[in-house]
């Protein structure tokens, strides 16, 4: 269900055909509060409070579970009282940031560029964040958290969409996504897939390897022919799908009962399956994934507390707590000292991370740089997805 999807995975709900890249080119510069330099050079005194906008589960103060609390320690350390709001979709975050009520936002690949383009977030001087140095290099200065060499935030956590399988059904572990696509009929009614238009990108990743003649270079940049090929593949898959999932409780239950035996998953889901007869693999074709960014509002009323939060949430212990609770890899190696499950998330494994196509919102201007053709945007993907489901 997309509601759940929304609450859990920002990137996909992008919805708006944002055209952030196009906007960026058009606008040239973005407005920032701190004058010509953009980011501040040094920090002042703490303002005493900070307002944070984030996905549910990112800012936990113990009110939902007394043992899950990394906000209180921050308040004690800095004297900045945290008020937080969780949002449901990237669109909602985008709208809420316009109110100027929030100092800090946790944004996903798509929303982040949109926020930059609209001038709602300010460049971040990473020199002021002592924990920035420890963050994995492969997450820094990427297309979703920087523009023209200017950093707009710090990475939070990341993860990959993996292939989970039931080890009773698969005596030899699968190595390719073909078990859910071309060979899916062997598991008819027990295949599961992620319930979102962005799942089309997973099919595109598969086609990149198996149908090179289509010329797909980036799974988020599909022209009409390429999209049609992906849709055909997914329509074929639909016949074998028992159910689509989007909230992880649903998939955990389905694998525990045996209602599903193979399909796309997150590492945290496999870790939560208690029956012990599942395993995951990152198939040879590569896969899709996500990476989120903490950003600071250009209208921040408490920029110092905001910087303090960015630094704090990147600190090994806090980052470990937050990413462990959410079920993703942390942003630094040091965080792994505070987590015992880093290995299962392949944290810091650059070779592993390089196989991930991080979620971005498909837009009409092809993300792979092609200019001779118009790509299909998210709204076209949504229509296609509904037709796939039938």
């Amino acid at each position: 269900m997309h509601l759940y999807t929304a609450r859990r995975r920002p990137a996909i709900l992008a919805g708006l055909a944002i055209a952030s890249v196009a906007l960026l080119t058009a606008c040239g510069t973005t407005s920032t509060p701190s004058g010509s330099g953009g980011a501040p050079d040094k920090l002042g005194t703490m303002e005493g409070s900070v307002s944070i906008l984030a996905w549910p589960g990112y800012v936990e103060d113990g009110s939902n579970d007394p043992t899950v609390d990394w906000v209180t320690a921050f308040e004690d350390q800095t004297g900045c009282k945290v008020t937080s709001k969780s949002y449901g979709t990237s669109d909602e975050a985008f709208t809420l940031m316009k109110t100027g009520d929030y100092d800090v936002v946790a944004a996903s690949g798509d929303a982040s560029l949109r926020l930059v383009a609209a001038g709602d977030v300010a460049p971040v001087n990473t020199d002021l964040l002592k924990n920035y140095a420890g963050i994995f290099d492969f997450l820094k200065m990427q297309s979703w958290n920087s523009v023209d060499g200017v950093s707009y935030g710090i990475p939070h956590g990341y993860g990959a969409n993996l292939l989970m399988y039931n080890t009773d059904t698969f005596t030899t572990p699968p190595t390719s996504w073909d078990v859910v696509f071309d060979k899916g009929s062997a598991y008819a009614g027990k295949v599961t897939a992620y319930d979102s238009p962005i799942y089309i990108a997973d099919a595109a990743v598969y086609l990149m390897a198996h149908s090179p003649e289509l010329g797909i270079k980036n799974p988020y940049a599909l022209d009409t022919t390429q999209l049609a090929a992906a849709v055909d593949l997914l329509k074929g898959q639909r016949a074998n799908v028992g159910e689509y999932w989007s909230d992880y409780l649903k998939e955990i239950q389905a694998f525990e009962t045996g209602d599903s035996v193979v399909g796309t998953t997150w590492q945290v889901i496999q870790n939560s399956v208690t029956t012990g007869n599942t395993d995951v693999v990152l198939p040879e074709e590569g896969t899709t994934g996500w990476s989120d960014t903490w950003m600071i509002s250009s209208q921040a009323k408490s920029p110092n507390c905001a910087y303090a939060w960015l630094d704090y949430i990147a600190s090994p212990e806090a980052n470990a707590q937050a990413t462990a609770y959410f079920g993703e890899a942390p942003s630094s190696q040091a965080a792994c000292d505070f987590r015992d499950d880093c290995e299962s998330y392949h944290a810091g494994d650059e070779a592993y991370a390089s196989q991930i196509w991080y979620w971005s919102t498909p837009i009409a201007k092809c993300l792979d740089g092609r200019t001779d053709v118009e790509c299909t945007d998210y709204s076209a993907w949504t229509t296609a997805w509904q037709e796939i489901k039938g």
């Binding site: 509601l3 759940y4 609450r7 859990r8 906008l53 549910p56 589960g57 113990g62 009110s63 939902n64 579970d65 007394p66 709001k85 969780s86 949002y87 449901g88 909602e92 809420l96 109110t99 909230d247 992880y248 409780l249 955990i252 239950q253 525990e256 009962t257 945290v268 939560s272 399956v273 208690t274 029956t275 609770y325 079920g327």
Partner: protein, 266 residues
Amino acid sequence: MRLSRIARVTLGTVAGVILALVYLPLMVVLVNSFSTSTNLTWPPPGFTLEWWGRAFRNAGALEAIATSTQVAVVATAISLLLGTLVSLALQRHSFFGRDAVSLLVILPIALPGIVTGIALNNAFRTILDVRLGLLTIIVAHATFCIVTVFNNVVARLRRMGTSLEEASADLGAGVWTTFRLVTFPQLRSALLAGGLLAFALSFDEIIVTTFTAGSGVTTLPIWILDNLFRPNQAPIVNVIAVVLVLVSIVPIYFAQRLAGAEQLQK
């Protein structure tokens, strides 16, 4: 019509089986609230009281219950007022467009929640330009709760007839006095029944709420939605559901007693 003994027993058995089926999923909920599995796996792998303990210390849940109660109380109050007014108008007067008005009252509940939800969301944000929050949920809930009050009150007014009210007026009582001393006392149990349903409807509404709640306000159903997808929280949700069912006996019981007492008086 006199039912034979066999017919009575058969009916009783059928009713019993239906009730058993109605309570089967609730039993699953009850059992899962004691289960050691955080994923609601069936059959439960073990027994624990952990969730019950944690549920009562869960600030988020208690806050959500408070928010939902607040919304439901205010929405019910508004719908009691508006529902009574519109019932009096429709049942005590005849006028052009009467059918249209009764359709208008029913429409918010008869149209699918998602339609009501996106219509109100669109109106609040783009036309009225108000921030979504507690107030917008209350307005939305009151809108579709009017009908439950309306149904109960209209049915009661129809059964009451107008003779008592006319007698009151003939004896010189004014419009207010007649309403206060004659009409209202007779409506009381209908208002209670309608209000109770309105409260229940508002308390458990999720679809319209999703679209009118904005991001800062968490009603209980939204909290449940969020927490079914936080790690290790699903059993706590079951505890809350069990508690709600048990607590709900109190108001339903009193409403029933009041209605029963009134029936005896007649």
